[in-house]
Assembly symmetry: C2
């Protein structure tokens, strides 16, 4: 699969300064630290992994976002600072206080993110002097540089932006993400930093982010199947000068929410497209379910089935595996009511072969993206999960990640 | 991995006649129909897939075992007769009635099993005359021949037997199984036929089989994640002449149960060892859990994690992935109490690196079988799941199974 066109042009919100540096956490020649600094205090919202094993920076950030305000994010790739105990907590705090001292801000206003290998101590001897240097050079790098500094197994940087009009003011939202392992439940960390110069009240920001993540990043992976480090942070510094968005009912909120949703979905799709070893994206749309929960459960089970994923990789319209996955998804349905389509081609009608497999296989052979529609014909609810195929390359990446 | 020594010697219970035939359902040169016939009526017990999408032969057998008695099993490989609607039900019934007519027994006493591709109609034009021929030749083949006739992606036939003394009588239990896809939740069908000449009351037989499957086949795959065709059948024809085992408390029952458990576990282990593309078996033992349900849930989550499986394949003692899998298993535990061992080598102590990864990697490099022990130190409960690694070969097999 072509990885699609990579965004290289993007709009940048006012008042955010960036720097990146190489601290030799990853292999030589790759930046591995990014610093994002808002020149004024920003409203903050964040969503974290639900995994019971939470990395040190996640535990730190959970507390730090409670007051609804932040100034900076310092992130490293190459080491997750997870399962590192008290030392890990100290290291995460030190990462924040080091950049805070240089930037002359409160260390409690600095959020920390890490991604990489679990269980190894942070190489603070190498990292610490580089953090100082990074903070001293803030403003010297672009958001694209930051997107590259947080990559691990990602094959391309992930960036997206939108411009919106709020009354007479033009506001910008820009975001970077990393994550190339949404292919299976317990994959590599997903990080996403969203920056905007819109003025948004913390409470509203929180609602908008939670809803947006639910419709994007949470639709490309299995519920509750998260890494130790997954983090999405949204900073809104108000530099655009719009009237602060402080209620959900307002038009401004709708405009902001729409742009935010577009950005998170765009980045989420990039993560799937960059799925480790993936050659093809497929969207599983389950409709006609009795409840939205059932629709989502069925869509997730099909989208995560290794047998479905390998069939898609083999350009094989093997709908029997889809039926078997539905059958074990523990939702109520009648197998002999099910219709299944690959894009527009019906392969199953009322639970039986519809005889168009050759046409479906043409679609699988020719298209980089395919929608598998399952109509349960038992109700009105629908849900969609975006997934990718499972290939030898996935095995290669994950059996050799640390070596 | 060497697939281990393949059993070629086994003891055969009295009063079972076998035949096999090539009906061109699989590729030429491979037998694909097996018939097992008890010369006298046998007590029967069976366990079937919990998948909501059940193949036609499963739906047929569920009714037929209700009276506790059966005479024959006719099984084919190459086509699962699943998602085949009314025609599939007719075909399954016709398979039974065809052999029943030749054997001059009641067709309701014939059980049917199928395994292979889902959703394709049974090739009854080819199969029907061959079924007659197969029934006419009953007694001409061995149980090993039957083990080979039911293979699909299996790389070796799976057979096991035990001799037991029940009072003055010697009884024999012998069994065949197929299944090489226990590597992931929604894998290929597992079939197992267990034959004994012991006399056992149907009710007792049912209890013994249910318990035995729970401790063997259900410990190599995820709860409820079953194929459309999974079936385990146990026939006890009483030809050994022992006093009928009719109560669980009896010594005879214990002796019988022990042998049955050994056979099912031996066959279950063979299925994992033959796991599609597997190079290594690993057993995940979770102990110190607060309840047996939590222990099992944690063991299953670790044993099924694609990241753990690929790390094991890469001979990488990547315990961070084990911690992350525990973290998403939704059981109560304290990450900083966890100890993790690869065989005898401690790699994690109280949630932190114990520094013996090099030793653990030697174990992973040198041993075909490894036990990953996770001690949660939160309670007294333990559970074990047997799994295998995830390799490029698994992808190759499953992306090309139908082509």
């Amino acid at each position: 699969m072509s990885k699609g066109s990579i965004n290289t042009e993007y709009d940048m919100p006012e008042g955010f300064n960036i720097s990146v540096i190489e601290a030799a956490i990853k292999k030589p020649g790759r930046t591995d630290v990014a610093l994002i600094y808002s020149t004024v205090p920003a409203a903050v919202a964040a969503v974290f992994t639900k995994n019971a094993v939470k990395a040190a920076p996640v535990l730190l950030d959970i507390k730090r976002i409670l007051n609804g305000s932040a100034r900076a994010i310092v992130a490293n790739s190459g080491n997750a600072n997870a399962c590192t105990g008290e030392q890990g907590m100290k290291d995460a705090a030190l990462m924040a206080s080091t950049v805070a001292a240089v930037l002359d801000i409160d260390e409690a206003d600095v959020l920390v993110c890490s991604t990489g290998v679990i269980g190894a101590p942070m190489p603070m001897d190498r990292l610490w002097p580089k953090l100082k240097e990074c903070a001293q050079n803030v403003g010297s790098a672009t958001l694209m540089d930051a997107a590259m500094a947080i990559m691990t197994t990602d094959s391309f940087p992930k960036i997206a932006s939108r411009r919106i009009k709020l009354g007479s003011k033009t506001c910008t939202i820009a975001a970077v993400a990393k994550g190339a392992g949404m292919i299976c439940p317990d994959m590599a960390t997903m990080l996403c930093f969203i920056l905007t110069d819109a003025a948004v009240a913390p409470k509203v920001l929180k609602t908008a982010l939670k809803n947006s993540v639910e419709k994007s990043f949470n639709r490309i992976t299995v519920d509750g199947d998260t890494s130790t480090n997954d983090t999405v942070i949204l900073l809104a510094n108000g530099m655009a000068g719009n009237k602060t968005i402080d209620g959900q009912a307002k038009d401004f909120f709708k405009t902001f929410e729409k742009a935010l949703d577009e950005i998170t979905l765009e980045l989420a799709r990039m993560c799937v497209r960059d799925g480790e070893g993936a050659t093809k994206i497929f969207t599983v749309l389950v409709k006609g379910a009795t409840t939205p929960v059932h629709a989502l459960k069925a869509a997730r089970t099909v989208a995560n089935s290794p047998l479905v994923k390998t069939a898609i990789y083999g350009r094989d319209a093997n709908w029997g595996r889809i039926m078997a996955a539905l059958g074990r998804s523990a939702i109520p349905f009648d197998p002999y009511k099910v219709d299944i389509f690959f894009d527009g081609v019906m392969v199953v009608e009322n639970g039986l072969a519809a005889g168009n497999e050759a046409d479906a296989e043409k679609i699988l052979s020719n298209n980089d993206e395919v929608t598998v529609t399952v109509d349960l014909k038992s109700g009105e609810a629908a849900a969609e999960i975006i997934s990718c195929d499972l290939t030898e390359e996935y095995i290669r990446i994950n059996s050799k990640y640390r070596t």
